[in-house]
């Protein structure tokens, strides 16, 4: 019994290391609700959705945020899904904004609420290739509002074109820069390709 009690104390101490804590951070506030199947999906409603994710942070492999305009866990180590912080990553934000299914063969419209923790099956390179039933490649010169530019490492959606020929892009960019609307020159950059979502209704 004395050994058990001594080891119980040691076990409590061990449970306090970062690795055990890391699995219970922002994601503990998220849910696994089913998405709402929609018959409509407009580009400006998608702008509303992506715009509301601004300031909510960035999480590698993530797809869950609230609407308090604060990144609850900023400056996590990059490229670690296990940090479970707030925000989507670039492809997670795009997947949810584009109302896609986790089943890559389905091209219907699935509305995921902000606190629904889902990243989706695509990374930036998959989007760039136009993989999945709802996605396709588009000519960059004709890419418009809520189409996207994707490279092998990143994807951002066109919020609106700009006078000087660049674009305001809504994107989950990085841990330090978070999710926001930034002016970018992806359109002319050959590292990026144009990507679109089938099924806009207005």
């Amino acid at each position: 019994m004395r050994t058990f009690l001594a080891m119980l104390v040691a076990g409590f101490a061990l449970s306090g290391v970062t690795g055990a804590q890391a699995y219970h951070r922002f994601w503990a506030t998220c849910n696994s609700d089913a998405p709402t199947f929609m018959t409509t999906m407009t580009r400006d409603a998608a702008q509303d959705y992506a715009n509301a994710a601004r300031y909510e942070g960035y999480q590698w492999g993530g797809g869950c945020w609230n609407y308090d305009d604060v990144d609850s866990y900023p400056s996590d180590p990059p490229q670690e899904t296990g940090t479970h912080g707030e925000g989507g990553d670039c492809s997670g934000l795009t997947f949810k904004t584009w109302r896609e299914s986790t089943d890559t063969t389905r091209d219907g419209r699935y509305y995921w609420r902000a606190l629904r923790n889902v990243h989706g099956p695509y990374d930036a390179a998959s989007f760039r290739a136009g993989n999945g039933a709802p996605n396709h490649t588009v000519a960059k010169a004709t890419a418009g509002v809520m189409d996207a530019f994707a490279s092998s490492t990143h994807i951002g959606m066109v919020f609106v074109r700009s006078l000087y020929g660049g674009d305001q892009i809504v994107e989950a960019k990085c841990e330090t820069c978070g999710t926001n609307i930034f002016y970018r020159t992806y359109r002319g950059d050959s590292a990026y390709g144009g990507v679109g979502r089938w099924g806009w209704t207005g």
Binding site: M1, F4, A6, M7, L8, V9, A10, G11, F12, A13, L14, S15, G16, Q21, H24, R25, F26, A28, T29, M38, M41, T42, R43, D44, A45, Q47, D48, Y49, N51, Y67, D68, D69, S72, P78, Q79, Y111, A114, K140, G144, V145, T153, V160, S162, L163, Y164, G165, G166, Q168, C174, T176, N180, I181, F182, Y183, T185, R187, G188, D189, S190, G202
Partner: protein, 443 residues
């Protein structure tokens, strides 16, 4: 020493297991308490691409996008709006109600400008107020409203320049290397960060001082590198520098504009003078003054005057469309309109067309008795910068510059025009360099 019995070994293992499980459960319970979400004010924003330069006789449609708090039913916001228009740039505005269309690709809310205003020889000026009818929230575009409205001018008799189809691979070799550094954190280096998966960042911007000293914003190492023929100096800087833009001021101070839309002014030794938030939410380019091309207004706004920062309202009131006396309007897939203005009137203009799509305009500034423009020609798989030296009669000089870059920079920070030459920031797997291209001077 007595050997441990099986029962004590088992008891110890069970104790550790129970302790770890108990600790994790307690931690999860404490962390699982939801973060209270503050009652945020209703979101509202707008998008608009102004027709800064128009073709006389052509119909003009103003389009706006309205962005609101996401609705629970997933539909777009139910909005409305009014545009305040006038001929020229003085006098009272008249209100016109925006119409709501079925399609939002180019902006759901629109107004066809009455021909009497669209055809005005002095152009027209305007601003709009859009409203989310569900919450009553409103937003004004441009943010200066009646104090600094959007200006649209007719491009009368522009000099037309047809670039044809861009020939890739024929890039010009620089005339000189003004500065270079290898990757690293040493005295002669500039910093590189990131990974193949995330992409790399390095020096995000640069500038050239009147004496030829090249200033490189060494974002990763948190410093400014000042390189001249004689020596190299480092100025340590605080704050976020990743993807920030840089402007060196004539008095030796310099300005840094960061990704969070804060402009910070530093003395020449790197000590902070002041910091100021931009009036608008996003920016595209920083210029001396300092002056910033801000979004969504699409206007240049002064951020300081006589060395002191301007409030956000003062920035809005000081907004204007022209920069260096030039108005830039990249339209369609491969067309660039450019006008030189004096006061509020266009003096001369250029209409540049390209069969190869054109990307962003990196730089447009007066040069001699003409202007220099740097834009980007691109296809699905290739891109190059195109440098055009313009005069009233047409093209004085044209050449291509390689656009590949190992790292990401601030968006419109790849070129600077200084001392009559064009400077370019370039990064490769080996390091960063600033190259100089000498330009012909329009007479």
């Amino acid at each position: 020493m007595r050997r441990p019995r099986f029962r004590s070994l088992a008891g110890g293992a069970a104790g550790i297991a129970a302790g770890v499980i108990g600790g994790v459960l307690l931690a999860s319970v404490s962390a699982a308490v939801p973060t209270p979400v503050a009652a945020a004010p209703p979101l509202i924003d707008a998008t608009h691409v102004p027709p800064a330069l128009t073709t006389p006789g052509a119909a003009v449609r103003l389009r706006y996008g309205l962005v609101c708090t996401p609705r629970e039913d997933g539909l777009p916001c139910d909005g409305s709006g009014v545009v305040y228009l006038r001929a020229g740039q003085s006098g009272p505005f008249r209100s016109y109600t925006l119409r709501r269309g079925e399609e939002s690709r180019d902006g759901r809310y629109y107004l066809d400008v009455p021909p009497s205003l669209a055809d005005s020889p002095d152009g027209f000026s305007y601003y709009a107020i859009l409203r989310d009818d569900a919450t009553g929230a409103t937003t004004t575009v441009p943010s200066g409203g009646a104090d600094a409205p959007q200006v649209s001018l007719p491009l009368q008799h522009p000099t037309t320049i047809a670039l044809g189809s861009h020939v890739f691979g024929d890039v010009r070799t620089p005339d000189a290397r003004a500065a270079e550094a290898a990757w690293g954190s040493g005295r002669d280096d500039v910093g590189l960060a990131g990974s193949r998966e995330l992409g790399y960042t390095g020096p995000s911007s640069f500038d050239v001082e009147p004496d030829g000293t090249v200033d490189i914003l060494d974002s990763v190492n948190g410093r400014l590198v000042r390189a001249s023929h004689a020596h190299r100096e480092h100025v340590p800087l605080d704050g976020t520098l990743e993807l920030a833009d840089l402007a060196a001021e004539p008095d030796g101070s310099f300005d840094v504009l960061d990704e969070h839309a804060t402009l910070r002014s530093f003395r020449s030794d790197g000590t902070s003078k002041w910091a100021q938030k931009l009036a608008d939410r996003t920016w595209a380019k920083l210029e001396h003054g300092p002056s910033v091309l801000q979004e969504p207004s699409e206007q240049w706004m002064p951020v300081a005057e006589d060395g002191a920062p301007l409030t956000r309202n003062e920035q809005k009131r000081g907004a204007h469309t022209a920069n260096h006396g030039l108005i830039v309007d990249r339209v369609g897939e491969g067309e660039l309109l450019l006008a030189e203005v004096r006061g509020n009137a266009p003096v001369r203009g250029w209409r540049i067309t390209s069969e190869t799509p054109l990307g962003e305009v990196q730089l447009a500034e007066p040069h001699g008795n003409g202007a220099v423009v740097v834009t980007r020609a691109y296809t699905a798989g290739r891109d190059e910068f195109v440098v055009l030296v313009l005069e009233s009669r047409g093209l004085v000089q044209r050449f291509s510059v390689a656009s590949d870059s190992w790292t990401e920079t601030a968006p419109l920070a790849r070129f600077r025009l200084a001392r009559g030459a064009l400077y370019r920031l370039r990064t490769t797997p080996a390091g960063a360099s600033v190259d100089r291209f000498d330009l012909e001077v329009p007479q």
